[in-house]
Amino acid sequence: MATKATVSLIPGTGLNDETGALLTGFNWEDLMAFLTRRADDILELTRDHLVVVVVSVVLAAIIGIGLGILVRNRRIARTTVLTAAAVAITIPSLALLALLSPVLGLGWLPTVVALVFYSLLPVVRNTVVGLREVPVSVLESARGMGLGPTRILFTVQLPIAWPVIMTGIRVAAQLTVGIAAIAAYVAGPGLGEYIFKGLSSLGSKNALNYALTGTVAVIILALVLDGILVLVARLTTSRGLRA
């Protein structure tokens, strides 16, 4: 969503370009100078962005996988949780932050709560789907060999569902990297600060540089994080499950 908001800035610039009267001209050397001058700042924001996303996704993974395990065999609970999570994700992030902020204040807390909130759906859904996709024959043979329910969950069901769960975590991470940018609205950590700075100083000399830097850094972060998660998924999934 953050990406969408910033993307519209660029056509905005393009419009100005068309009119021939550049309000905020783009200048490569200016951008380089901007980046050099603010390198430390940008790195810090990127690091904060990454930390808030990782913390939120890890929390969401713990809660989401737990929730998925709890509701997987209960039809009503399962439907309720999945529907609630699906509805929750349709709440605009800005609106959610506006609701959270009066209660939780500004900064990290409302940001993490909001990010966990959005991450839950993909994690819970994929946990439920992954666990339910474990072949009945595998479960029956596990039981037939004298494995108890807990042992079956941890040595059979979760490992087999793991690639699917990891996919859910990847989706959550992608979603969260974008939404974290919006959290700058409630003084949350991360690159959103630059995007909002650009937005609020439209017309000024560095508006585009701010927005562009924030946006591109968010995209790079998202790609790098996804790459890392793909690697983690690969390393933690049995070779026997790879297609």
Binding site: P135, S137, R143, M145, G240
Partner: protein, 345 residues
């Protein structure tokens, strides 16, 4: 919990029995809640140590339910089950199942475990040492004719259906359980693979002599493999429980007869070795027409029909020891039933 010690004692004694033990099912009934008629009603049977018992019946007749009550995948509503004299219903279900081999049609290998890890599941649960497990895995893979060097580190998806079911059998045998339950284990394989697996399994069973309950809907398979066959109808009612030869010779009723289908005589001939027939003097007229003495009479008849010869020579280790004709084959068929009855009397 005073039961724990006795349980362990019983299970230890079960674990020590590797050759096969007796199983007694006593008035077993399974009634599912909300269903009018029980799935299994008042089922009683005694299985001798080392016997391979076939449960044959149409799908939905309760044969699988009956089998699954033995390892308590399904809990009986009433009745008692004793293995080696011990009441299994008083044991811990999971502990019990670790001492009963279980093979199902869909095999159910763990896809995320290697073949070696799959076979090691129960030994690991039982706390075997790593070295002992590794040795056992090797031994079992050889038993089911899979080269350990090639297959131990592969994953199930890299194996064919027949190979997977071999692993399924190896896995069930891993902890050397005295009892095996097999639910249509070869049902999903093609006819050629199935025959191969059946023959291989019979060869293994001849060595290990487990007490086996084998569920199938294939009567041919039952005849081929069973020491005794229980022909079951609705609610797992036993229509006849006897040796394959006796069931073929004297089906108890029309239900059993319908199961045998056409060609009962030929099916019986397949069970009778050539040496059971009256062997006459060697036939010099057609020295090329021979069957080994270990062949069945069905094979002898097959040779007669195929060659058009009047007599077929019987060989022992390649040397002709005599010959039989069609009359001798028919006579063997006729004497089969009464002869066995006399034996038992």
């Amino acid at each position: 919990m005073p039961d724990i010690t006795t349980n362990t004692g019983v299970l230890t004694s079960l674990a020590a029995q590797q050759g096969g033990v007796d199983i007694v099912l006593d008035h077993i009934t399974k009634q599912y809640p909300g269903q009018q008629r029980p799935a299994v009603e008042d089922f009683s049977m005694r299985v001798e140590p080392g016997e391979l018992i076939m449960f044959v019946g149409p799908s939905g007749c309760g044969k699988t339910t009956t089998m699954k009550m033995i390892n308590r995948i399904i809990e009986p509503t009433s009745g008692s089950i004793r293995i080696n004299g011990d009441d299994v219903l008083s044991l811990d279900g999971n502990e019990l199942r670790r001492h009963i081999g279980y093979v199902i049609q869909q095999i159910g290998l763990f896809p995320h475990f290697t073949i070696a890890e799959n076979i090691a599941i129960v030994p690991k649960l039982l706390g075997w040492s790593k070295a002992r497990i590794a040795e056992r895995v090797d031994e079992l893979l050889r038993t089911v004719q899979l080269d350990p060097g090639t297959f131990a580190q592969r994953y199930p998806r890299q194996l064919s259906g027949g190979q997977q079911q071999r692993v399924g059998v190896a896995r069930a045998l891993a902890a050397d359980p005295p009892v095996m339950l097999m639910d249509e284990p070869f049902g999903a394989t093609d006819p050629i693979t199935r025959e191969k697996l059946q023959a291989e399994f019979l060869r293994i069973q001849a060595d290990i002599g487990k007490t086996i309950i084998f569920v199938t809907h294939d009567f041919e398979e039952a005849i081929r493999m069973g020491d005794r066959i229980a022909v079951l109808s609705d609610r797992s009612q036993i229509e006849q429980f006897d040796t394959p030869a006796r069931i073929l010779a004297e089906p108890a009723n029309d239900y059993v007869r319908s199961f045998i289908g056409e060609g009962a005589a030929l099916k019986r001939l397949a069970l009778i070795p050539v040496t059971d027939a009256r062997i006459g003097s060697a036939d010099a007229a057609a020295p090329a027409v021979t069957v080994d003495e270990h062949s069945s009479l069905r094979e002898a008849l097959d040779t007669l029909v195929l060659t058009g010869a009047a007599r077929v020579n019987v060989t022992r280790a390649g040397a002709v020891v005599g010959s039989i004709d069609q009359a001798a084959i028919s006579a063997a068929l006729g004497s089969e039933g009464p002869a066995r009855r006399a034996e038992e009397a």
